[in-house]
């Protein structure tokens, strides 16, 4: 209830400011689109099919890049958590590359992977891999040694320890890492689509800029917000199932 009210309040505040600006003209009215104008643009985009197309293109890139990065982060996280030499070898490399802002590498991705889909998917995979890897490896390494002792005294083999103790114990942390990674994917898709794309929400926003249509920019941004909120809700419900029964941290 409070959640719904907060959204309505946000909409009212936006409407008040933008329609107020219409009469007071604090900034040029065209620079501060009203909810009505954005909705009009949204309806027009939905009519000619470009809304769905752009949304699907972006979602597809995010989905593919995120899936590749999640699989790689899980695999490498497990290797690092289970095999100390792997941890010693991987850690310095990761720690050197991780702090570089991914956008600094975006031009290189275009050079390496071309202007097509591959460069966007690869860029999202590259960007989201690091935070997910760090989070997943940390939650696997942080599993309480006492849980392992308890299971070993009940006859658990190494394989039992992995899939009956380590993975379930680390699952809440793993899901948090996935949520962080997904948020980041939405963050960087726009940058990738700004630079070189003929479709996608980033491209929709860029088009709004080029043709001086602020309402379309806001529409594109809102769609990104919805996409992010939707997937976050899905991951949250998965997380709730994963931590079912556990005491809140």
């Amino acid at each position: 209830m409070i959640r719904a009210l907060a959204l309505v309040a946000m909409l009212i505040a936006w409407a008040a400011v933008s329609y107020g600006n219409r009469s007071l003209e604090v900034v040029m009215p065209v620079l501060l689109p009203t909810p009505g104008e954005v909705a009009t643009v949204g309806v027009a985009l939905a009519r000619d099919g470009s809304l769905a197309r752009n949304l699907l293109v972006s979602a597809g890139r995010i989905g593919a890049g995120f899936a590749i990065a999640a699989a790689a982060a899980l695999a490498l996280g497990l290797a690092v958590a289970l095999y100390t030499p792997a941890r010693l070898a991987v850690e310095p490399v990761i720690e050197l590359v991780r702090p570089i802002p991914p956008l600094a590498f975006l031009p290189m991705f275009l050079v390496w992977f071309g202007l097509g889909e591959t460069s966007k998917v690869a860029f999202i995979a590259y960007t989201t891999f690091f935070p997910m890897f760090v989070g997943i490896a940390a939650s696997l390494l942080r599993v309480d040694v006492m849980l392992l002792r308890a299971a070993a005294s009940l006859g658990a083999t190494r394989w039992d320890l992995l899939h009956r103790v380590v993975l379930p114990a680390a699952l809440p942390g793993i899901v948090v890492a996935l949520r962080l990674g997904f948020g980041l994917a939405i963050f960087v898709i726009v940058g990738a689509e700004f630079i070189a794309a003929d479709a996608g929400l980033g491209n929709l926003i860029m088009e709004g800029r080029v043709f001086f249509n602020p309402a379309q920019i806001v529409m594109g941004a809102l769609l990104l917000g919805f996409l992010g909120a939707l997937v976050n809700a899905l991951l949250l419900s998965f997380e709730r199932r994963a931590v079912r029964g556990r005491a809140p941290q």
């Binding site: 309480d144 308890a150 070993a152 005294s153 009940l154 006859g155 039992d160 114990a169 029964g245 556990r246």
Partner: protein, 260 residues
């Protein structure tokens, strides 16, 4: 190794244990030799830091001894194993599993058929009085209930010996006495070999067939008492108090050494 409803003998032979602290080797256990009879409840008693938990961890296979060895049912201990069940002070239940799933964890690992697992689980949940709470998660239980689950989980796996590391140490005084009475009752049915670490003299006299009093660090065996009292024991009987007094005097000597 003797399993399946059995209980095994434990032989501790010349066990030394040192830990490296800041590059210096610090002895924790000095030449401990001890034979624990099959079906006996033996209490390891001593001041904190005397190495009684270290000894238990060595028997459990969590720590290797620096020298010496431990035999369970005649076979040397090389690591943790299902014939040695462990009950920890902090319970260490699997928080993502229900009470019943925690108890069933061992039997399922051993590859018992589902029907058999359910039957075993039901029996041990009843033994510890938690049948009504079978589908709860550990986070929903009190400390005493958690420790009952941990005891049921260890026993359900039918170990030959049970190692208990201050299992009631985190419980309030009343719950603690109730748990001691339950363990004593369960032991009269199960006849496991139990090694029970505690620093409570009353607890040791109430539960033990024999009490091993250890010296303060580095730990050695100071004296072994055989408690010849009928069960269930009466904490207010004059003989009970007599054992308490004698053992208190010995333990106090060791505590005083630490403070000198």
């Amino acid at each position: 190794m003797s399993r399946a409803g059995g209980s095994a003998r434990v032989q501790v032979e010349g066990v030394h244990k040192s830990f490296d602290l800041d590059g210096r080797s610090t002895p924790a256990l000095l030449d401990v030799s001890l034979e624990i009879h099959a079906g006996e409840l033996l209490c390891l008693l001593g001041p904190s830091g005397c190495g009684k938990s270290t000894l238990l961890n060595i028997v459990a296979g969590f720590l290797p001894p620096t020298r010496g060895r431990v035999l369970v049912g005649g076979a040397p201990v090389t690591g943790p194993g299902p014939e040695r069940g462990v009950v920890f002070q902090e319970y260490v239940l699997f928080p993502w599993l229900t009470v019943a799933q925690n108890v069933e964890f061992g039997p399922r690992l051993m590859g018992k058929p589902a029907a058999g697992c359910r039957e075993i689980t039901a029996r041990y949940l009843e033994m510890v009085g938690l049948t009504a709470h079978a589908s709860k998660f550990p986070a929903q239980l009190s400390g005493g209930m958690k420790q009952r689950v941990a005891i049921a989980r260890a026993l359900a796996n039918d170990p030959a010996i049970v190692l208990m590391d201050e299992p009631f140490g985190a419980l309030d005084a009343q719950t603690r006495e109730v748990m001691q009475e339950e363990l004593s009752r369960i032991q009269r049915v199960e006849h496991k070999t139990i090694v029970f670490v505690t620093h409570s003299i009353r607890e040791a006299v109430y539960l033990a067939d024999r009490v091993v009093v250890m010296t303060s660090a580095p730990g050695r065996i100071k004296e072994i008492f055989t408690i010849k009292l009928p069960e269930p024991r009466d904490r207010f009987a004059p003989e009970f108090t007599q054992y308490e007094r004698e053992i208190t005097r010995l333990v106090k000597e060791e505590v005083m050494k630490v403070h000198e």
